[in-house]
């Protein structure tokens, strides 16, 4: 499997990346770790005459934690997320999710930016980013802008990012509380049959805010506002969990594929969402 020929660029700053994209238009694509793009290129499902490798671009790496605010450079690898001691303390749900992505070799190449940017519904980080209400920083020819993860995904592989923009970093607020990223997959390293991210807060035995988002259960990640509200103010007893699961399942729209028919996916989603809520509550 050999991809079509391409010109290769390895610029060292973002403005050079933007200049290359502007010059070559649709024929140019940026590449982070390449573990989504290279397989597509090898299958010739993607043909990219001008490939811009981001590995040497300054300012796209690093994790900074300032109080409650976490900022992660787009080129941060899944392995770096897993190994970062501060992140483990401040936002352990990222580590929990990253450990369920692919395998060790792939995780040391695959990046959080690549995972969230391309709009692949199978990727785990987009759902988690919606759960955390993360913000994505995009840089293009007209400067920088921020798009909420909850507004970013339009359809499978279609996002709010224009073709001339590069996703450079992610930031979100992490305020403790209970958390869980629960994922059902056919085998280790697989994409999710169903996965669910939950964060919630407990005050005097009651839920004081919850956020619930799901992976690979529609052609975009799904943040279910209604599911979070169903837990709010409750003691997260069996009835509240049941209501939240029903609300979350009402918001998904899975399609049949080699992971199973629609009914099966809806069933699995219900099980996974319930487990994620219960696990998050037990940690709150």
């Amino acid at each position: 499997m050999v991809p079509a020929s391409f010109e290769y660029y390895r610029p060292t700053d973002v403005s050079s990346v933007i200049a290359l994209i502007t010059q070559h238009g649709d024929d140019a694509r940026v590449m982070a770790g390449g573990h989504s793009l290279i397989p597509m290129m090898k299958l010739r499902m993607a043909e990219i005459p001008h490939l811009i490798d981001l590995q040497d671009v300054a300012g796209l790496t690093g994790i900074t934690i300032d109080g409650f605010t976490v900022r992660i450079g787009a080129m941060t690898t899944q392995t770096e997320l897993i190994d970062h001691p501060g992140l483990r303390q401040t936002a352990p749900i990222l580590r929990e999710a990253a450990l369920q992505i692919a395998d060790p070799q792939v995780r040391c190449m695959g990046t959080i930016g690549g995972n969230v940017a391309n709009g692949d519904p199978g990727n785990d980080m987009p759902g988690l980013m919606q759960c955390l209400n993360a913000q994505f920083t995009l840089i293009g020819p007209d400067g920088e802008r921020t798009v909420a993860a909850r507004d970013y995904y339009e359809a499978a592989y279609f996002t709010a990012r224009s073709e001339e923009e590069v996703l450079t970093s992610i930031h979100f607020s992490a305020r403790g509380g209970g958390y869980c990223y629960e994922k059902q997959k056919r085998k280790i390293g697989d994409y999710a049959t169903a996965a669910c991210a939950v964060t919630l807060y407990k005050e005097e035995g009651l839920c004081a805010g919850a956020s619930i988002a799901m992976t690979n259960l529609s052609d975009v990640p799904v943040w279910s506002k209604a599911a979070g509200l169903a837990l709010d103010g409750t003691s997260v007893d069996a009835n509240a969990v049941k209501s939240a699961v029903e609300a979350a399942v009402a918001d998904i729209d899975p399609s049949e594929d080699n992971r199973g028919p629609v009914d099966f996916k809806v069933y699995v989603a219900g099980v996974i969402i319930k487990r994620a809520i219960e696990s998050a509550w037990s940690r709150a």
Partner: protein, 164 residues
């Protein structure tokens, strides 16, 4: 046809400079250009790990890296870990504990296992299985592979203690 690129790699300690198309995959560079045939082509789809090599201190799948991406890097393959006269502890352990049947996955297994034991010098069985999840074996059922890696870890730790 785009121009060929000048590529420089350090492979198992040797400097290599050549012209290549950027789209050449690292596994083909190693096997076909350099006759380094320890890393194998298994699935070619980033799943099986038979092509695992170490690039700049990370164990990666060489079927999913363009030679252009690797330009300037330091690469170690199974050939750089040991040789028939002086086997790496893991190679010796795979032989001792019969951690292979057909042997096709073995170079990738051992190459990945060297990094696993750097990351987790004293792993549990579960940690070995999780840490080796990117390498598939269709013969052994993994039992003896796990046994080999655990035995190598014990031996390396004993040698370390003896040295201290």
């Amino acid at each position: 046809m785009p121009d060929k690129m000048h590529i420089q790699l350090t492979v198992n300690g040797r400097n290599e400079e050549f012209l290549a198309e950027p789209r050449e995959l690292l596994i083909h560079t190693l096997r076909e250009r350099m006759n380094i045939t320890g890393p194998h082509v298994g699935c070619e789809t980033s799943h099986c790990g038979a092509c695992t090599v170490i690039v700049n201190d990370k164990a990666i799948k060489a079927c999913t890296m363009f030679v252009a991406q690797a330009n300037g890097s330091e690469i170690t393959t199974i050939e750089g870990l040991g040789n028939p006269d002086s086997l790496h502890v893991l190679q010796e352990s795979f032989r001792e504990h019969h951690g292979l049947q057909c042997g096709y996955c073995t170079p990738g297994m051992i190459t990945r296992a060297t990094k696993l034991l750097e990351e987790t010098p004293n792993p549990t069985e579960e940690e070995v299985r999780f840490g080796m999840a990117g390498n598939l074996c269709r013969c052994t059922g993994y039992q003896n592979i796990v046994k080999s890696i655990l035995a190598a870890a014990a031996q390396m730790n004993a040698a370390q203690e003896a040295a201290e």
